[in-house]
């Protein structure tokens, strides 16, 4: 995939639970941006030198591995220019901006250290079962 964010396809969301660096990894069901694992971070940790956002948008993602749905709280890693690797746009359950907590076009760096508000990449930690 080029640096261009690989939008999902019209066929719809078909998640896998084996490769976190691919856009169809199940936790990325409503991610809009870059997978931190490809940028020096991991599925749930930010890359070196970035600033971890304490705020997040949320989505419920189905895990084909255990047939359970989980609430994911997508956290942005901020304070660097966009990573540019593993760009993805998935919108399962993504709501318009007037429902911000479910909207993934927003730069969700609110509260990060140094007032960092530039977008680098996103991690997909679990809140709990949906």
């Amino acid at each position: 995939r080029g640096a261009h964010a690989a939008a999902g396809t019209r066929e719809g969301w078909k998640p896998q639970d084996t490769d976190v660096t691919q856009c169809d990894y199940w936790r990325h069901c409503s991610i809009d941006g870059n997978i931190c694992d490809c940028c020096g971070g991991s599925l749930t940790n930010c890359p070196p030198g970035t600033r971890l956002s304490p705020s997040s948008w949320i989505a419920s993602c189905f895990n084909p591995g255990d047939n359970q749905s989980y609430l994911i709280a997508y956290r942005d890693c901020c304070g660097k220019n966009v990573c540019g690797r593993c760009g993805c746009l998935n919108t399962e359950g993504e709501l318009p901006v007037y429902r911000p907590e479910f909207a993934n076009d927003i730069i969700w760096c609110f509260g990060a250290e140094d007032d960092a508000m530039t977008y680098h990449c996103t991690i997909s930690p679990i809140v709990g079962k949906a």
Partner: protein, 383 residues
């Protein structure tokens, strides 16, 4: 050569003519190069914005629909919002930059350009709080007289910033309810769409006193209104599709929000065949013919921001379908020129290419490739 010459008091600027080159570096030319100006904008002058997938610098291309030529471009910072005066005299961006590329000191500003020379005619400092979100056209909007600019702030709380473009200075932040988008109906009045599902009418006076009046709720909670409706400032008409292709019409030309007869673009049969709305700017509105253009395709649920291969043209008054255009490729955003022989602009973010079609026949007239890294937004003066 020995010995270090005293280092000049006023440091080097790194842009001087190199002394060690002398004449070799500046030749007399047969040609006489100048800096061009773009022609006077007409209804087919459009601006294409490349947010470049959240990069800290963005590009805003000036394109002439008549020729398919790029007339020039201006640079924006992180997620810069473009705007253009309805009289065609200027355009601009609301922008955010940092002192060390993507960190350090944040600086938000409004930059205004002469629409022919593309020279900066105003650089206005604003609070470092404009909403940083994917680029939606109607979050930063000029008032009808083009003398003021209104920009949205999401945090720390919902506010709208008022900028005096004419006198080139920031005025104040206006408190607003938990609402989004800015649709001016007058020079002191604008409408927003609220989380509750209402429209809010916001009026402000010279001293910053704000009056807010909300309409009744006009759409159900699961009728999700997309982030990028079509809005005609001159007609005072908002055309607001839902994910599933229901069109809400809001007429603010009277100064009050009047809800028109909403209608579904897709027939029951088409809905059964999974026809749904999809794209970044999936809707456009042509004032003169009162026609609505909507990007749609057969797609799964929750794929509302992905591209579509078809545009459905409907009469806003009757809701009837007039025609359907097959682009034969994936298109992410559309717009139409407002003249009587309108062009349909169809932008592919993935191909970084703008296709210019005859809006009536769908015939391709021009294509404009290499528009940055991920172009998504098209705006015009005549709107």
């Amino acid at each position: 050569l020995a010995g270090g010459a005293a280092y000049a008091q006023e440091g080097p600027r790194g842009s001087e003519l190199p002394k060690q080159l002398g004449q070799e570096a500046t030749s007399d030319l047969e040609d006489n190069p100048v800096i061009l100006s773009a022609p006077e904008p007409d209804a087919r002058r459009i601006y294409v914005t490349d947010p470049a997938h959240f990069a800290v610098t963005t590009q805003h291309f000036t394109v002439d629909g008549n020729t398919g030529k790029v007339l020039g471009m201006v640079d924006g910072g992180f997620l810069a919002n473009p705007f253009a005066s309805s009289d065609g005299s200027f355009f601009g961006i609301a922008s955010t930059v940092y002192s060390r590329v993507a960190k350090g000191q944040r600086d938000d500003y409004i930059e205004v350009y002469d629409s022919k020379t593309h020279e900066v005619i105003a650089d206005i400092d604003i609070p470092e709080s404009r909403f940083l979100v994917g680029t939606y056209p109607w979050m930063t909007t000029l008032t009808p007289d083009s003398k003021s600019l209104l920009f949205y702030q999401f945090t720390p709380s919902p506010q709208v910033g008022l900028v005096d473009i004419e006198n080139k200075k920031f005025v104040r932040m206006l408190d607003v309810p938990d609402c989004y988008h800015i649709f001016p109906s007058g020079n002191d009045t604008f409408f927003m769409h609220c989380r509750s599902g209402t429209m809010a009418k916001v009026t402000f006076d010279k001293d910053g006193k704000v009056e807010v009046k909300e309409t009744e709720v006009f759409h159900a909670e699961d009728e999700y209104l997309i982030n990028t409706p079509a809005f005609s400032l001159k007609a005072g008409q908002i055309v607001w599709p839902t994910y599933e292709g229901k069109i809400f019409l809001v007429d603010i030309s009277s100064g009050e929000a009047k809800f028109g007869q909403h209608f579904d673009v897709f027939t029951e049969e088409e809905k059964k065949d999974n026809w749904r709305v999809g794209g970044w700017l999936p809707v456009a509105y042509h004032r003169g013919t009162n026609e609505i253009y909507l990007l749609g395709d057969q797609r799964a649920k929750w794929t509302h921001k992905y591209s579509s291969r078809f545009a459905f043209v409907h009469d806003a008054k009757t809701g009837k379908r007039i025609r359907k255009i097959d682009f034969g490729r994936d298109i992410d955003s559309i717009a139409v020129s407002q003249d009587d022989n309108p062009q349909l602009y169809a932008l592919s973010t993935g191909e970084k290419t703008l296709y210019i079609l005859d809006a009536a026949t769908g015939k391709e007239q021009h294509s404009v490739p290499e528009l940055g890294h991920g172009p998504q937004v098209i705006i015009a003066h005549d709107n």
